[in-house]
């Protein structure tokens, strides 16, 4: 067993794959720097990310997988879930070691797991598309704070850019402390400093004139459409888990 330690980047992961083939390693354990404990009797190999090598692996991967398949690998890594590296590496090795395209081999444990992770990411992305609640600020920017389970902000850019082309907006990930900002032309990643008295989720002080009116109207609407005789709390909670409530206007 060889333990490969990489820096957590996608390029780092691809470089590790290069090393596996280059050194003809068979049994490996891939870990992000600082996440694993060292075990006895293991060889340890520190991977130094190398863009040229990573690119060769990526190029090879593109010949074995469809564009969609390559993207799935990328999204699975991007999810940043602990200890999933070996599954992602397993998927890539399975793709290289098989003549035909393996994307639909759902009986295979790596294909299965990647499919699951991608689905979890898609679900979270979709939830964020639904649960973002913009608040209009005095400078006409629409601001929303979110706390997604996974790092999905970059996957949201296209959706919100296509939808809100004529308003400035910002979606801020409070948990990971960065946001995306659209200035009517382009989007960029931003990080902000928040003071303890005005944390990232709270923008009331700078609300535009009618902001509170519309929040109030929305809360009223939400109450009015409920049918009390059909109350079903279990179903309600399955659809909007409690952890999202603190950023949902109608649930505050």
């Amino acid at each position: 067993m060889t333990r490969l330690i990489y820096d957590g980047t996608f390029e780092g992961l691809l470089t590790a794959i290069f090393e596996i083939y280059d050194r003809r390693l068979t049994v490996v354990n891939l870990q992000k720097d600082g996440t694993g404990s060292s075990a006895l009797f293991e060889d340890e190999l520190q991977i130094i990310t190398d863009d040229a090598r990573a690119n060769r692996v990526l190029k090879g991967l593109k010949t074995r997988l469809s564009a969609n398949g390559v993207q799935r690998v990328y999204i699975a890594h991007f999810a940043g879930m602990e200890h999933e590296e070996n599954n992602i590496a397993g998927y890539i090795r399975y793709a290289f070691d098989t003549q035909q395209n393996i994307e639909d081999d759902y009986g295979n444990k790596y294909v299965q797991r990647i499919s699951q992770i991608v689905q979890m990411m898609r679900r979270e992305k979709h939830r964020m598309e639904a649960f973002v609640r913009f608040q209009k600020l005095q400078d006409d920017t629409y601001y929303a704070a979110v706390e997604p389970d996974f790092n999905v902000l970059p996957l949201l850019i296209r959706h919100f850019k296509n939808r809100y082309a004529d308003q400035k907006w910002m979606i801020y990930d409070v948990k990971r402390n960065y946001g995306i900002y659209y200035d009517l032309h382009d989007t960029e990643f931003v990080a902000m400093e928040f003071s303890a008295s005005a944390p990232a989720g709270n923008a009331i002080a700078v609300f535009s004139e009618h902001e509170e009116t519309y929040q109030h109207l929305w809360k009223n609407y939400f109450r009015s459409v409920n049918i009390a005789s059909r109350k079903n709390t279990k179903l309600h909670l399955r659809h909007i888990p409690k952890r999202y409530w603190k950023h949902l206007t109608e649930k505050i």
Binding site: H126, K136, Y164, W218, N220, Y221, N226, E250
Partner: protein
């Protein structure tokens, strides 16, 4: 804006519209052009009410004034309630401001009928037109067509709305006559037929000229109320099937009757909402639209009612044990779709995956098959086979004993009657 007045109107007119069950906001393909506001195609549920229904559109009535006196309807003429009406601009402002904050996917606009059908329909169309042409709004718009509205207005509505719907209200003409004596079923069917013809024709035009305007790109839907009149499931599903086949409807919605009024023609005020039955009808509807079932396989004169204790696919399988077991590694997709516990996605994954290697129980489970039901109806790459010459009745007992259906409690209390 007079905030208090608009708040009051919104409370009244959202409350009155909440029994309309249509909530879809998908199926369109409206793009955001020229840096305007919004797009429509995704179908996103932005919130959920405490009863668990999705909130995707601002669903309101333009007014709850109504010249009709339908027994099942809260807005009926003879009901003593507060009346209100939005102005065109109020609806436009609410829609735009809710949409910009990402509360909604668009507008669902229905109305009580004031004066006459055309007078009311014209106002609905004006709102849609204003949103599209003056506000460059590309979000979803669902207009409820008023029965009896003229072809000219329906045509204009189709140019601005993504979806149009005319509610059938009751599954049969007799039911409608009983509860809505002012309404005429033919007045509901005529606009549907007109729209169907128009949608087909516009689609042809669009093939020839790319620039031809979109016409109701998300099609038509309708709604029937369940449990207010004595129709059985066979009648209800045959009605739905008829409209799917002859009018190309995108959806038929089934709305379990919520008792809101005392009327000797209606179930009493303390009658429970038929939620399980409603759910079974939706499941049966899915089987017709996505799983290749013929309506007669689900309900017929021997089987006029859907089982309340098990879903309709399991019900069909138990009545047709001679068709099983099937070999999951060899059977057609068509048959795999008929196995209880296997959904659309799982069926497709199975067919893809078995090209690589035959699948066993463990792999099927990981793919997402509900083995607690499926195991009695399939064989796979494994010696075990769960059926052991069990009868349909026995299988049903096993499955019911194992499952923790959210409806099990209701069902048990019903069974105790016997």
């Amino acid at each position: 804006m007079n905030v208090d007045r608009v708040t009051e109107k919104l409370n009244i007119l959202a409350d009155a519209a909440k029994y309309d069950v249509s909530c879809a906001s998908s199926g369109s393909k409206r793009k955001n052009e020229n840096k305007g506001l919004g797009n429509a195609s995704n179908g996103i549920c932005h919130s959920y009410t405490e009863d668990g229904r999705c909130v995707s559109l601002l669903k309101i009535l333009l007014t709850n004034h109504c010249i009709f006196d339908c027994a099942y309807c809260v807005s009926r003429k003879s009901n003593d309630i507060k009346r209100a009406a939005f102005t065109v601009q109020e609806v436009v402002d609410l829609t735009i401001n809710f949409y910009r904050r990402n509360y909604i996917e668009g507008l669902f606009l229905s109305s009580g009928i004031f004066k006459d059908a055309d007078y009311t329909m014209e106002r609905l169309v004006t709102i849609a037109k204003k949103l599209r042409t003056e506000n460059n709004f590309n979000g979803y718009i669902h207009l409820k067509s008023i029965p009896g509205a003229s072809d000219e207005l329906m045509r204009e509505a189709g140019l601005y709305a993504d979806r149009l719907s005319v509610n059938l209200e009751m599954p049969t003409e007799a039911g409608l006559k009983l509860l809505a004596p002012d309404k005429n079923r033919q007045d509901m069917i005529d606009p549907m037929a007109f729209l169907n013809k128009e949608i087909i024709q516009r689609k042809e035009e669009k093939k020839l000229f790319k620039k031809a305007p979109m016409f109701a790109p998300a099609g038509q839907s309708t709604q029937v109320i369940i449990g207010a009149t004595p129709e059985n499931d066979q009648q209800i599903l045959h009605t739905a099937n008829h409209f799917y086949k002859n009018f190309n409807l995108k959806r038929v919605y089934y709305s379990g009757y919520v008792p809101v009024l005392a009327d000797k023609r209606l179930p009493g005020l303390n009658t429970a909402v038929p939620m399980v039955r409603e759910n079974r009808l939706y499941q049966a509807d899915w089987l017709m639209r996505f799983y290749g079932f013929n309506v007669n396989e689900i309900v017929n004169s021997q089987q006029p009612l859907l089982d309340l204790d098990i879903d309709p696919k399991l019900g069909w399988a138990i009545r047709n044990m001679q068709a099983f077991p099937i070999d999951i590694n060899k059977a057609d997709l068509h048959m795999i779709l008929r196995v209880p516990g296997i959904g659309l996605h799982s069926a497709q994954k199975i067919v893809s995956a078995r090209k690589f290697a035959f699948l066993n129980w463990d792999q099927l489970k990981k793919i997402g098959v509900a083995l607690n039901r499926a195991k009695y109806f399939i064989t796979c790459k494994s010696g075990d086979y769960e059926k052991r010459d069990l009868t349909g009745t026995k299988i049903k007992q096993f499955i019911l004993a194992e499952s923790q259906s959210k409806y099990l409690k209701n069902v048990q209390s019903q069974l105790n009657l016997f």
